[in-house]
């Protein structure tokens, strides 16, 4: 037979190469010569051997791929590799809306009553009804004989599953549904079928704080996008005993499907107090619904999560972890207290902008803070601050060629206005996003072939709503250098006159009015100061008695054409502020 193994090449993996190598090997013997003829029995055997080798090689290659996070293709493999890095992929999440409930016909002797957890609401999208529930109980207080409460409701169908613990017939505690919102998982362990007393088990988030008697469960994604609960072994968490009944309450949700839902009806509140009727009004449309984390996202996030070790140390840790864990946030920024205007050591400031809103509610800020506070270094206090909005007011002059377009002047102006709004949506509106002047101009130049050129002058604008009953100090932070003598404001009533603000180019802010012959007269000289370098405007003892609209707008012209947001600042262009003049030319 074979002379030596040197005739056998084993490096190729393709069928044809393997077959060719086997033929080479057979050339070293003389007993069977027909391997070159396709009809021979030898050729048929070679086919089978090469196929088998190729099959095994392919299979081993796939196994090799699935063994590493970078190359794994199957979700189960990716999740399993991520588990080794201590990472649990984010589950589907139901969208959350905020609604106001107003109860009528409640006995006014009742000081308060409770809307229980699990009260259900309904919204309908494309003729499909979706269930929303309260994920906590709310207390409705009697406030001057009215009963009004703002509550969060979250999309998802509440379900319960029970497992009986048995060492003889062990079960895996796998929640048998896809689309589980893991935030909603609540676990109780009933002592036995005869003894209905139960213990609430909580999700273990930090294994170092788990004791042998801690009633905790661990949560992992398992096969087929389902979630599995595991319990302690008596060392790392309280162990279950035979006969215990594990009761799991959870919701299955529809992810992003109900994002934007804004019409809800009360289904079943479960309020025990008698009332005649309840009306519902919307505060915030549903948002924050998301699908289960994708394979690519798990591959991206798991190693980073491992690097951060679920600890918040650098500012990027704060940004990444808060963004990742809170799907309702569009943008997050964090900075150390030492970088604040007045340095404060030992604090980390965090600001977040939710989708579709400008500010987080206090309760939401508290929720997020509570979710991270035990992951920060001991001496660091995380503090949530509101996002600061700096409005950009552009005036756009566009010259266009009348001979190359059928657009009317109004249509072209509308087109430009939309383009500026889109620029704001795409390039501004998030922390750290600068206004890059040349890019704005370029986007307008490229908008339509008929546009010949454009010029844009921009102002920075701050808005505030002062008290009209008490004097106060107003501080406006533009945080960008200001051109001298450019401060301006909308009108307000001061000392009985219709007044405005301006600056004297020397660093002072004045309150002035116009006389009947249109002459400017100062009402209050040196009412405040303006720092042209830092962009800070302060007005002392400001006491207007009325103002137009809901706020006073203070505009300045920036010294630089590019405007940079600092720390918690966000730049925005509001469509109402955009002024467009289109000038037609016959070229």
């Amino acid at each position: 037979m074979a002379q030596a193994n040197t005739y056998l090449q084993v490096t190729e993996l393709d069928f044809a190469d393997i077959r060719s190598n086997l033929k080479t090997f057979l050339r070293s013997q003389t007993q069977f010569k027909d391997y070159d003829f396709e009809g021979s029995a030898m050729a048929t055997l070679l086919d089978l051997m090469a196929y088998n080798t190729h099959y095994n090689a392919y299979y081993l290659n796939m196994i090799g791929n699935e063994m590493f996070l970078d190359t794994a293709q199957q979700r189960d493999s990716v999740v399993s590799r991520a588990k080794e890095l201590g990472y649990t992929p984010i589950s589907s999440r139901g969208a959350t809306a905020n609604v106001q409930l107003t109860f009528t016909g409640v006995n006014t002797d009742v000081p308060r009553f409770t809307i229980p957890e699990g009260a259900t609401f309904t919204t309908t999208i494309d003729d499909i009804a979706y269930t929303y529930v309260t994920d906590q109980a709310y207390s409705v207080e009697n406030v001057r004989d009215t009963y009004i409460k703002n509550i969060d409701i979250t999309e998802g169908e509440p379900l319960t599953h029970r497992f009986t613990v048995s060492s003889n017939d062990p079960v895996r505690y796998i929640i048998p549904n896809a689309g589980v919102d893991t935030r909603s998982i609540k676990v109780r362990v009933q002592t036995s079928s005869a003894d209905t007393s139960n213990t609430v088990f909580t999700k273990a988030t930090n294994v170092t704080s788990v004791k042998s008697t801690s009633p905790v469960f661990y949560l992992n994604e398992t096969n087929d996008r389902k979630y599995e609960l595991t319990f302690g072994d008596g060392v790392l968490g309280k162990a279950l005993v035979d006969g215990n009944i594990v009761i799991v309450d959870y919701r299955i949700c529809n992810g992003t499907v109900t994002n934007g839902a804004n019409t809800f009806s009360v289904d079943s509140l479960g309020v025990t107090e008698a009332y005649t009727s309840v009306s519902l009004s919307l505060n915030t449309a549903a948002r924050g619904g998301r699908a289960q984390e994708t394979i690519d996202s798990v591959k991206f996030n798991a190693p980073k999560n491992f690097e951060a070790q679920n600890r918040l140390v650098t500012k990027n840790d704060y940004i990444n972890i808060i963004t990742q864990e809170n799907s309702d946030l569009e943008s997050v920024v964090a900075f150390g207290g030492e970088d604040a205007d007045s340095p404060v050591f030992g604090k980390v400031y965090i600001a977040a902008k939710p989708f579709g809103e400008r500010f987080l509610t206090i309760s939401r800020k508290n929720q997020i803070r509570a979710s991270i506070v035990d992951r920060t270094p001991l001496s660091i206090d995380p503090v949530f601050v509101d996002a600061e909005y700096l409005f950009i007011v552009p005036t756009v002059n566009v010259n266009y060629d009348l001979t190359t377009t059928t657009l009317t002047q109004k249509s072209l102006e509308a087109l430009v206005k939309t383009a500026v709004t889109n620029y704001s949506t795409d390039s501004l509106g998030r922390f750290g996003k600068k206004l890059r002047y040349s890019r704005l101009l370029r986007s307008l130049d490229n908008l339509d072939p008929s546009i010949l050129n454009n010029t844009v002058s921009i102002k920075m604008s701050k808005r505030f709503s002062p008290s009209i009953t008490t004097t106060q100090k107003v501080a406006l932070e533009f945080r960008n250098p200001i051109e001298k003598g450019t401060l301006d404001s909308t009108q307000f009533t001061y000392s009985g006159f219709t007044c405005f603000l301006d600056d004297d180019s020397l660093g002072n802010v004045n309150i002035y009015r116009y006389t009947q012959d249109k002459t400017k007269v100062n009402v209050v000289v040196n009412a405040g100061t303006i720092n042209y370098v830092t962009g800070k405007v302060e007005i002392e003892n400001f006491a207007p008695t009325a103002f137009t609209g809901t706020e006073i707008k203070v505009d300045v012209i920036p010294e630089l054409l590019d405007v940079t947001p600092v720390r918690q600042q966000i730049l925005l262009i509001e469509s109402n502020d955009i002024v467009v003049n289109a000038i037609g030319e016959n070229v």
Partner: protein, 136 residues
């Protein structure tokens, strides 16, 4: 020095495994087919192989089984004979076909294929009869 007829007959030009896989009655080793018999086995194997039966080599075979479900007309007969000629021409360079005859065997509910061919460098023709019939 030229080999005698007897000596030529004992030279092994071709050698293959016997597809019957019957051990040699004396040595217990795997039986072999040599020369004319090896080519004969190869031709039979090719005729009975269908397309897509061999892994990664879908074109080897002549698909005669597919024709068993056709009415046995002169056209089918010609097609069958051509298919056999073609597979031998393409995949068995050692055989030179003399004749292929397909016949209907009503008594057996079968078709017979009679092949006559020369093995290259061998003046004696080889005759092979293959019966095609239902397997179940």
């Amino acid at each position: 020095m030229a080999l005698s007829k007897e000596a030529r007959r004992n030279v092994e030009y071709y050698s293959d495994i016997d597809l019957a896989f019957i051990p040699h009655p004396v040595t217990g080793k795997l039986s072999r087919k040599t020369n004319r018999n090896a080519v004969r086995q190869s031709v039979k194997s090719l005729v009975l192989t269908n397309f897509y039966e061999r892994p990664f080599q879908p074109n080897i075979g002549c698909n005669v089984r597919a024709m068993l479900f056709e009415l046995f007309t002169p056209a089918t007969k010609q097609k069958l004979e051509n298919a056999v000629r073609e597979v031998i021409y393409n995949y068995e360079p050692r055989a030179e076909v003399i004749e292929v005859i397909a016949e209907q065997r009503d008594d057996l509910n079968a078709l017979t294929l009679s092949l006559a061919f020369y093995v290259i460098n061998d003046p004696e023709p080889v005759v092979l009869d293959v019966i095609l019939e239902r397997v179940r």
